[in-house]
């Protein structure tokens, strides 16, 4: 995929990918690339010991990413609202026992996906295997056509973002999770594997399929 040809987790890859690593989570504006992770560590420690301000800061930092992920996973704002609430509740209750074996960001996404899966299981339209998209492919394609046909709507960038959202709906849940966690949230393969409970090799395969589908879909959107 153009502009993203080097996977930093691939054997022999260099640090050439400018978006790799979780050293600079969004919501921080520090110039020191090592600082945000270090601050996460402090906030986690303080929040685990009952510091509510630290917890608020932690969630203000990671909340937008969690919500972005949940909304696109569930395609329903009400469900995303509920899930992010449950995720934060689980985080507040779980922080005293959090031992830092993974980054707090990864841990939060594990909690978020756990909540999202509970919602997906409740939806009757979801196949038991979870291997098929949760939306009708024809509906999503129609949505894409609508976006393309809107000549005087929003700007190109707004349309592009909407087209990407629509193309994500075509992906099965695991592919969608992997694509968002890698390309948008910039988690490493090993971290994504932890979130979706699989291996880094499986993540790589899922990501390739997701990238191919999105590239094809956005090509059609043009």
């Amino acid at each position: 995929m153009e502009g993203r040809g080097v996977d930093p987790d691939s054997p022999g890859s260099s640090s050439g990918d400018p978006v790799e690593r979780r050293r600079a989570p969004r919501g921080t504006d520090d110039l020191d690339p090592a600082a945000p992770a270090a601050l996460d560590e402090v906030l986690v420690r303080q929040a685990g010991l009952g510091d509510k301000v630290a917890f608020s800061q932690l969630m203000q930092r990671h909340g937008p990413g969690l919500y972005r992920y949940l909304l696109r996973l569930l395609n329903d704002r009400g469900d995303a609202d509920d899930c992010v609430q449950e995720t934060l509740l689980a985080a507040w209750k779980g922080l005293p026992g959090f031992r830092g074996e993974s980054s707090v960001r990864t841990w939060l996404f594990v909690l978020a996906r756990h909540e999202a899966q509970a919602v997906l299981r409740r939806r009757t339209r979801v196949p038991a295997s979870g291997s098929l998209p949760v939306v009708d492919v024809h509906e999503a394609a129609e949505e894409l056509r609508d976006l393309r046909a809107d000549p005087e709507g929003d700007t190109i960038t707004t349309g592009l973002l909407a087209a990407l959202d629509a193309s994500l709906l075509l992906l099965p849940e695991r592919q969608r999770s992997v694509w968002i966690l890698r390309e948008v949230e910039q988690l490493a393969y090993a971290e994504i594997a932890e979130v979706i409970d699989t291996t880094p090799a499986a993540v790589r395969g899922l990501l390739q399929r997701a990238r191919a589908t999105i590239a094809t879909t956005l090509e059609e959107w043009r």
Binding site: S56, V84, P151, E183, A215
Partner: protein, 164 residues
């Protein structure tokens, strides 16, 4: 792929090419904060913080008699006090209660800053922890020997944002 040759009609620019569209859309999404999050942010954080964290009761005593505090509250107050002592930060605080929910021991595990003498830090933290417990629990606060301060050096840091 070629650029869209349609004359611009009020649009800021042409549609990006295929691969560029994916890259640009990805970047847009990465920088995007959903309005839904902005709308609920303060509410969901407040609700989470209002949730009950199960914790053991700790007995205290004041002039009017005995009362109970959640050990979570004791830990939170101790953290505030310990973090206020320069040169160290609380990493883990554990309380052990005995008969009648009386606090028997408190263990404060610290992260220490590089440089300052550790013995002085330990004594300072011990003193503030003891004072805090006496304020919180009155005469049922554990004796000085019941407050254990473990200076744990897990990392060396001169970053004031980690340990001040």
């Amino acid at each position: 792929m070629t650029e869209d040759s349609t004359p611009a009609t009020g649009r800021p620019r042409a549609r990006p090419t295929g691969a560029a569209a994916v890259a640009e859309a990805t970047l847009l999404l990465r920088q995007h904060t959903d309005a839904g999050w902005t709308a609920i942010e303060s509410t969901v954080i407040e609700r989470a913080l209002a949730a009950f964290r199960p914790s053991a009761p700790v007995r205290g005593r004041h002039d009017l008699g005995d009362f109970f505090l959640a050990s979570d509250v004791v830990v939170a107050r101790l953290r505030e006090a310990v973090d206020g002592a320069r040169g160290g930060a609380a990493q883990r605080i554990t309380c052990t209660t005995g008969e009648d929910d009386r606090l028997e021991t408190v263990t404060v595990q610290l992260v220490a800053a590089y440089g300052p003498p550790l013995l002085e830090l330990s004594e300072r933290v011990h003193a503030v922890a003891l004072a805090t417990l006496q304020t919180l629990l009155g005469e049922l606060a554990p004796p000085a020997e019941g407050v254990l301060v473990h200076v744990h050096i897990g990392d060396v840091s001169d970053d004031p944002r980690i340990v001040s």
